[in-house]
Every structure is written in C-alpha cells, then in structure tokens.
Subunit: 490 residues, 2 copies
Amino acid sequence: MKDLTKLFYPTSVAVIGASEHILKWGSIIISNIMAGGFQGEVYPVTTSSELVYGKKAYKTIAEIGKPVDLVVITIPAHSVQSVIEQCASVGIKNAVIVSSGFSETNEEGKKLERQLAEFAHAKGMNIVGPNTMGMANFKINLHAMFSHVRLFAGGISLMAQSGNVGNQIMYWAEQQHIGLSKFVGSGNEAVLRCEDYLDYFYQDEDTSVIIMYVEGVDDGRSFMEAARKTTAKKPVVLLKGGRTSIGSKAAMSHTGALAGSIQIFRSAMAQCGVCMVDTQSELLTLAAAFDSMPLPKGNRVGVVTLGGGWGVITADECEEHGLLLPPLSRELMAKLDERLPHFWSKGNPVDLVGQPDPQLYKDSVEIMASSDLYDAIIVLGIINSFKSVLRLYEAAIRLGKEVKMDFVEMDKHLDGMQSAFLDNIAELMEKYEKPIYPVALISPPDQPVIHRSEKKGKYSAMIFKTPEEAVKCLAKQFRYAAYLKKLGRL
Amino acid sequence: MKDLTKLFYPTSVAVIGASEHILKWGSIIISNIMAGGFQGEVYPVTTSSELVYGKKAYKTIAEIGKPVDLVVITIPAHSVQSVIEQCASVGIKNAVIVSSGFSETNEEGKKLERQLAEFAHAKGMNIVGPNTMGMANFKINLHAMFSHVRLFAGGISLMAQSGNVGNQIMYWAEQQHIGLSKFVGSGNEAVLRCEDYLDYFYQDEDTSVIIMYVEGVDDGRSFMEAARKTTAKKPVVLLKGGRTSIGSKAAMSHTGALAGSIQIFRSAMAQCGVCMVDTQSELLTLAAAFDSMPLPKGNRVGVVTLGGGWGVITADECEEHGLLLPPLSRELMAKLDERLPHFWSKGNPVDLVGQPDPQLYKDSVEIMASSDLYDAIIVLGIINSFKSVLRLYEAAIRLGKEVKMDFVEMDKHLDGMQSAFLDNIAELMEKYEKPIYPVALISPPDQPVIHRSEKKGKYSAMIFKTPEEAVKCLAKQFRYAAYLKKLGRL
C-alpha cells in the first residue's frame, strides 16, 4: 500500500508556477492555500517575480533549501518532466500535477505521461494527476485546488475522476453545511489510481465515509479488493459516470475490464458492499447521512406525520424501496392515545392531525423511536411548520388588527423551538441508536441539510427536503447495514 | 359538464364562520382573502361580532341581501347542512366547505356527507370539499384557502386530493417563482370530483398545464374520458398517492376500479396521454417546463458543457431516458471550429473547455440550437459560473493585493451578464421553437427555477439544479410531444 500520509498532511507545500495573475492556475492555487488558512510553510516557485502575495519566491525547487512535503505544479505540460526530476533530486515524494496537455490530448501528451509515470514509479513518487483540479484536506485547511470553497471539516472524503463533478459536490457541501475531510481529483491517474486513494481513506482515521465519482477503472481486481476491504470498515458511496454507451463515448473511457458493462460493474460493486447511487445530489446526501446518523439495524419504519397526504406518499415510497411499515402494537397505541386527541389516525403512519404542539411532536417521536417495533423513524412536516403562523399574524396586521407581538422576538422564539426539536432528534438517535429522518414541510431555500447544533453529541440531525429523498437514503443505509450484518460486523 | 366559472371567478365571496381569532380557520381564510388583494366584495358572516377585520359582519347569509357568487364555510360539520340550505334558498350556487368531520371520520360523518351531496345534486350546487384546505385563483388574487402564499400568476392549475400536498406544492411554487393559475383541494369529493375540475381546467383559457395529485378515483371511466380529452389540448401531469398496498392502506383509499392496481392505473394514464411522475418536486418542475418552454419535437439532444464530467453524466442520463445524442455534422463542426480554441472536444457533448467568454457561450448555444440535427439543447455549467471569479479576487485581496475593483459594481455586472445569457436562451427558444435546458454549475440556494425576464417573450428560461433533473424533464416532455404527434396534434 502506498503511503499517502504526507501527501494529505504536508507541513510544507511548494507551488511551481506561482503567480499573482488572479485568473491563472498559478495564482488560483497559491491564493487558495494561503487565504484558506493553511498553517504550514508555503513556498512560491517562479522565475518571473521576487514575491508572490507577499511571500519570497524561489527560482527553483532546489533553491528552497528546506524539506518540502508536497509540490503543486501548474506549469505547461512540456516542462513538467524536468521539474519532477528536480523534485526527486531534492527528495520530494509527493506532487500534484494540475497541468493539462497529457494523455487526454494527443500522442505527444500520451508519451509525456508515460515518461512521467515510469519516472515516478522508479523513484517511488506519489503523483496526483496530471490534468487535475487538485486536492484538499479540510482538517488542516489545505486547499491545494481550483475550488475556492470553505467547508466544515467532517468525516467524508471525496475522490473524483472529474474535476467539475468534484467541484460541484464541494460547492453543495458548502451550501448544505456538510463537512468534508479530504478531496482529491484523480485526473488522468498516471501514477496514483482510484484504488490507491481508497486504500488510503480506508486507513485514514479522519475519514468515516468515502465518496467516489468513477468513470473508468484500469485494474478491476485491485479496485474490488480495495473496495471490499474498505466497506467492511466504513461506507463507500459511488457514482459511476459512463454507464451507457453514449456516456462511455463522452468519457472517451478507459477500457478496463470493469468499465465494459455497467451491469457487471453494478454487481461487482454490490458484492463488495459499495453503495451505488444514480445522481450527484444523492451521492452527497447519502454520505452525509452515513456520517451523521446511526445505521438502521433493520427495515421496519415508523412514520410520524403532521398531515395525511404525506403519510401516503411516504408509505408508497417505503414499499417501493423494500421497507416495511409494521402496525402499532397495543402498548404503543395506548401510549399515543394518552398524548393525542381522540381523532388521531390510530395507525402507522401516526398522523398528529395538525396539532400545533411542540411537546406533543417531541413525545410522539420519542414514543415511536423507543419502540422495538421500528428500526428507523421518519418525521414528516414538523420542520419549518413552526413559523407558518407568522404569515397569519402578518395578514391580520395588514388588515389593521392590533397585534401585541414583537415579530423579531417571535421569529427568534420559533427558530429556537425548531432548533430544540432538531437537537432532541440528535439526542434520541444517540439514546436509541436508531436513525431519525425529519422531512421539512416547506424548506426555506437557504436551509442547510445538516442541522449544526451547539451541543456536540455523537450524531447530527439532517433535514430532508422531500419524503422520497429520506426514504431513498434510509433504504440504502439499510442495505449497507444488512451487508455488514452478513459479514458479522454489525 | 358542470359550470365552475363563478366558483373560480366570483365577484363576491361570503365567509361563514368568519372571525378574528388568528389561528382559527374562520380567520385564516377571510384574512387570506382580504389581505391577498381580492378586488371583489367580501362578506363576513358570523353571529359573534359586528365587524371582522373592519368589515361589517352579517348574522346570516340571507341578511347580506346582495348576490353572492361563492361561500366559504368554516363552521362545525353538524351545522353545515342548514347553512347550505340557506345558501340554496338565496340562490347561491358555489360553496367551499372547509369543515372536517364528514366521511373521513365515522358513520355519522358519512351520513352528514351523503345528505349534503344529495341536496347539492338536487339543487345543482357546486360544492368543493368538505374537509378541504380551500381553493385559489391567482389571476384574480383570490386566496380562499389555508395557505398564505403569494404567487406569480401563471398558466399552471393544481388539483390535489390532499391539502398538505397541495400546500407544499404552492410553497415551492412561491420559492421557485413558478406561476400558478388556480388551486383546488378537492377534499372528500362529496359533490365535485377530480374529473369535474379536470373538465373545467380543460376549457379554462387561463390554464395551460394541469397538475393533479390523486389518491383514488371513484369513477374510472369518466376520469379517463376527461383526461383523454384534456391532454389533446394541454398537458396533464399527475402524481398518484397510494401506489402500493401500504400506501393505499395509509390513504384508506376509495375502492374505484382504477384505484385497485397501480399497474392498471399507469397504463390507463399512458393511454390517455397523462404524464405520470414519481415525486412531488418533479410534479412542479415538469409542469413549469410545459408552461415556460416549447415542446421538443423529437428526442435528439445537443449538449453544450463547460466541463467533461458533466457531459458524461448527462450523456448517461439521456441514454437511460431514451434520448439520443447524435454526433455533430461536418458543417456544425466547422462552425464551432471557428469559435472555439483548437483543443475543444470536437463532438457532442460540445465541451467549451472552460473558456470564460460569455459571447462564446452565447454563440455555441445558438449554433447548436439552430441546427436541424437537434430537437433540444442542454447547456451545462455556464449558469452561475460567472460569479466564481469573485472568490478569486476576494482571496487575493485577503492576501494584501491591491485590486482596483468595485465589488458591488462587479457583482451587478456579472449578474447582468448571466441575466442576458438567460434572456437570450428564452429568445432562442422562440426563434427556433426548440427547448433549451440550462443546468447550473453551482446553485445559490435562493435561486428560483424560473428566470423572470424584463423582456416579455413567449417563453421563460428555467434553471435546472442537476443534469438528471433536466434530462428527466426533457424525456417526459418528449413523450408527451410524441403522444400529440400520434394524434396529429403536433
């Protein structure tokens, strides 16, 4: 197994081709590292200026005269080989080659890339790329990449065979408050291949879930081996690009054994316990769920809802995804009877018949979560219902009614109520080691999917935008849990 | 066919059970009508106060002494019958019964509902509900309903057999700037049934697309008849609740012939040209697409993309949804060669290889849209790419670089560029009568799905959040277009 520790945790980074031309790669990368808060040493290397963003620039890598853990190379393809040789000569082991113009272009590029790979293999160098958007380690604020995103540090590590797919996933993670651990765009994979990153994330203690966007795999056997080993320890969520003949053509895909047929690929991944998803957004949501919630131990779902139609939609989705909705027991019925008005639904889904009572919401969710009948709870329509009353007051005030209410205070109060409800969900997940999926009735567009609580518990509550999103996520988490059970790991 | 014109276009509305108790139905409805900007007469009817929100209250409906086109009833179930009889005696033809406590509860409620239905049929009264969240006509600012939403008026009319599903769709429409024409929650359908609303929307000139959320259909034959007639003229997008046995149980569903099996229902709907969707969010997005874009005349798709990985994902999605990506012709290749740098992808997807050049974007999209080879164009990653440069400037400034730039001005300028690009897409759709689907690289959370242009053209540009959303939408629009073609209507 290759040792990528210094690649992901360098204490010193040199950027070759560094510049202050704001729209050029040499500037985009070094300004991202420096402004992103990296605490290690940063060395600009360039012949065209004395200073780069206030830092002394070096003419060559050798001139630095101090140990460099990682170099990031942004100069034209034809000059890369000699720079890599200089790096080797001063003992540098890790390089990210951002430069394009290699095997993705023409025969000459292919030749350059072969030469580079042979040299790196001979010297035992770890090379990311070429033709990559870069890499990042959010735990140490290292942003050696194109995307100027600022994320929460979390447990999800991301490997993408496409820069712009990786880019988008990171932007989403930023918006959704989803924490990432590491990112790497694997580019042309001249030296380090997707299975090497998988191997590294497998043993990385800061990684609890792995996301992969894969277009082609060169060595199916070793990829499967890495995947099988990894999934026994942590979930791997994978999106395959180039699933179809048109897609493969668009990818000008590699011709490895596994890339041939998506059916073969799918069944290979299922054998290895990899969770395959169909869309980019599912990729991120599912990974976040793995990172923030306990696994469902089985497929029996309890539903608590504020309205009937949503219960129906959710029940449909559950059945279509292989989940069960066992009826309430007598005992459970009695417990709910005590708390709910007499005209409640008396079944699962538990319909709270629109009662605007936060304590009732809390109690009903706990009654269901505490029952051995259910492995997971879906909570519909409560999130974001708290504030809908404000619109009623606004209308009344517009019509001239005197309302003794401080809107700002009320707004804060309602936010606090909702926040307490979500905090409680996180606590219930820990208390009963059971996932709970709140689905919002109305999502304000800027509401992130992860509720970041002030209380630091084991889990975080997520907010799902639709019942189908929650059910899909739960179904895939259940399938992974079943895989672990079969292995005797759960 | 029932005449529902005065129900949807009343010039006077009475609310029976009107009050100023802000959290009660009697207030929620009348404050929504009054604050919502309805220009007709509004008559509160109640025995408990003289004034409601500044308007003179009447003790009975008879006391009003002027014509009333529509009554909305919010009083308890057991008093509804006598009020309906009073309404009939003064010649009122249209009522919305919000009150619950009818057939959805117990035998007594069922009896009340039967009595009501018989009376209404005998008198030729149109009754919405009972047990409904109400109705709205956004063209005339009539909000006779629970949800205090304020929407753009548009061409989409919505019928929902569940109040909270309707409620959520309207909130989404508000956020997404999607315009609606009318809403009706059909409730228990004691008198007016889903096919009656379909019949009405069929002939309503303010309705260009119809959304239906259906749990059960009482009279399959007449529903199919109404559907077949309607889809020959305008698209009907339908989500079925209670698709599965658990779902049906949760719905305590009606037992009509069609409700029995989802397979039968699906094939019946396909025969009638109804577009069935699987999720609530798809329901709204597809309807918006029908309302804002021309139909694709065939299934040949051209893709213009700012990055490779997205092209692959989109190509996969297209093939999986029965769409084709025909290669570029020699002629098209030559036209694009003139505009693009020499290392462009030279195929469909057309990869613009990251060139930050708005004029190039515009030209490439038009070159593709103008070609007879393609029936629809997907444009990936250009939307919202304009502003990513701002982050680069911010980083540089944080590092002490002097940048002569007014951020506010720059922000406005970039917004303007993007807006112009989207306006141009709307114009190209009109010029070539061909749909264009822009997919955003990064969506700011508050970006609505409809781009509202100052220029009023025939079409509006939409902004899709993911390639899969765009492809799914396009595939369903194509299927509907194919249905119309078979009928000789396209």
